[in-house]
Subunit: 302 residues, 2 copies
């Protein structure tokens, strides 16, 4: 691994010296983008869902929630014949982390203050030949005054039921292509980070075929980081749409479906046993419905 | 709460001063009992499973495993038309806890040495009107020499899909009756312990209707404790059998079934997010298949 790759893998959020007005603008740009991306994703998924059947009108249901302590979010969920369950959450929250968790968050050690805005997409498909997909990006600010820190985190990964090299190649190629436009070291680093993260040690199995994953991204150039975050969202959407369209008409039988439901069990195991966001969300009084939006609609264990 | 109840709730494993031969006998009695109880439970469940249909012969499948470091166990699983998935695990293992976990186990702090034998039963039923049930009892020995500790732990609890007062009453009455024969403070203490333990904070919901739960049980009189452990096993079996028989012929529809699958999702959430045995088992290299035997066969989330 190159020195740069190593360095990136151990990214640490840096101090943020913005004045109040600049920071306010950044917050607003980020949260507006997450909302805009949510609308785009929902619209595209609804189009696919309703394409084949005339007068079919399956749409996302939206439900907003408020956070005790500040901010809130909106859960958008659709259950259809193409998307068995797809959720798109956005949230913009602020407040104080409890003392128990402050040490785990850069910049929050002293007073626990934080602001966070993000989007999270999880899609479980009816057809076992279409991979499940996940994408999440967020902007975080912690602390106050000259000790404030600001960074981006996120990623996207694909979980096919079967050995689906076609989808995996498309997804990785698209992500690599967008990463390379920003920094040649991003893709190899963030791919590896993703492989390390989405792994079930008790099964000795990866959750899926990976993608990219990163945290504490904070270059001097905020605009560049933010543009990268936007690109991940747009690229995830176009890449996943092309994967869905390629594989949607594949025939499947009851056995394929059962294999899919077993595979989903691993997804549940990962999210409840290891996923930082899920565990952190549930144990810090996050919105349960939003946090558990990621869980698949039907699952089997043997 | 009485002083005695408080005292019991904070049970601490005491030193065990048995000579080697006595200890060897206790280990043998305990592990033999768990095996005997396993056979009894499997036989009774197979009888129910095959009762109604002539020539039907659904039986438990057994699979043995060995533990790196010492000992092993046997998983018995049956999938039928009455029992959608029922697992009965027994294991007798010994070795050393990794340094990371020693501080959490009485007597294991210094050298991590342990010996453990136990049985675990988890039953998920086809008919949503028959509650799921769980029972587990175990004997633990940690440390060595005069710092050795020996204790029993275990419990049993019931998870109906619906508001099933009948089953809950039978189960609690039977458990209370057997507890009271040993110590009048057992039932109120262990019931409360169970209610505290099988609770999902993120849902603000109990996992089911409770039962009993305890750990670090070690009176001066080992024979009495062991007899209590045996009684829990036998009482759980007879009580659950009577509940099954009463409710098995109830009609149910697709909506009832869906409600059951959603309820099972809470069961999964509890086991993967909070259950000590599950998390400890998976993170200390326990047998994954045995540990996750508890997970329901079919589950839904919305």
């Amino acid at each position: 691994m190159s020195a740069k790759v190593k360095m990136l893998k151990t990214l640490k959020a840096k101090e943020c010296l913005d004045d109040i007005k600049t920071l306010k603008n950044k917050k607003q740009f980020a949260s507006m983008w997450f909302r805009e991306l949510r609308d785009k994703i929902c619209k595209s998924f609804e189009e696919i869902e309703n394409k084949k059947i005339l007068n079919k009108q399956i749409t996302f249901n939206q439900k907003s929630w408020e956070r005790d302590g500040g901010g809130g979010g909106t859960i958008s969920i659709m259950h259809g014949d193409v998307f068995e369950k797809v959720g798109v959450n956005i949230s913009t929250v602020h407040g104080k982390f409890s003392k128990e968790f402050r040490q785990q968050i850069p910049g929050a050690e002293e007073n626990g203050l934080f602001w966070a805005s993000g989007i999270s997409v999880v899609s479980h498909m009816c057809n076992p030949h279409v991979p499940a997909a996940h994408m999440n990006t967020r902007m975080l600010i912690t602390g106050k005054g000259s000790k404030k820190k600001l960074w981006f985190g996120g990623g996207g990964d694909l979980t096919p039921t079967f050995n689906d090299i076609e989808s995996s190649n498309i997804f990785h190629k698209d992500l690599k292509s967008i990463c390379d436009k920003y920094d040649k070291s991003y893709y190899p680093t963030f791919k590896r980070w993703c492989d390390d993260y989405f792994y079930l040690p008790h099964r000795e199995e990866p959750r899926g075929v990976g993608g990219i994953f990163f945290d504490y991204l904070c270059n001097e150039d905020w605009e560049k980081d933010f543009s990268f975050i936007q690109s991940i969202g747009s690229t995830f959407l176009s890449s996943y749409l092309s994967i869905i369209k390629r594989r949607l008409s594949r025939k499947f039988n009851d056995k394929d479906r059962e294999t899919q439901l077993i595979k989903r069990g691993r997804y549940v195991e990962f999210n409840l046993l290891y996923d930082r966001g899920t565990i952190f969300g549930l144990k810090t009084g996050g919105n349960t419905e939003a946090v558990l939006m990621s869980l698949p609609p039907k699952v089997s264990w043997y």
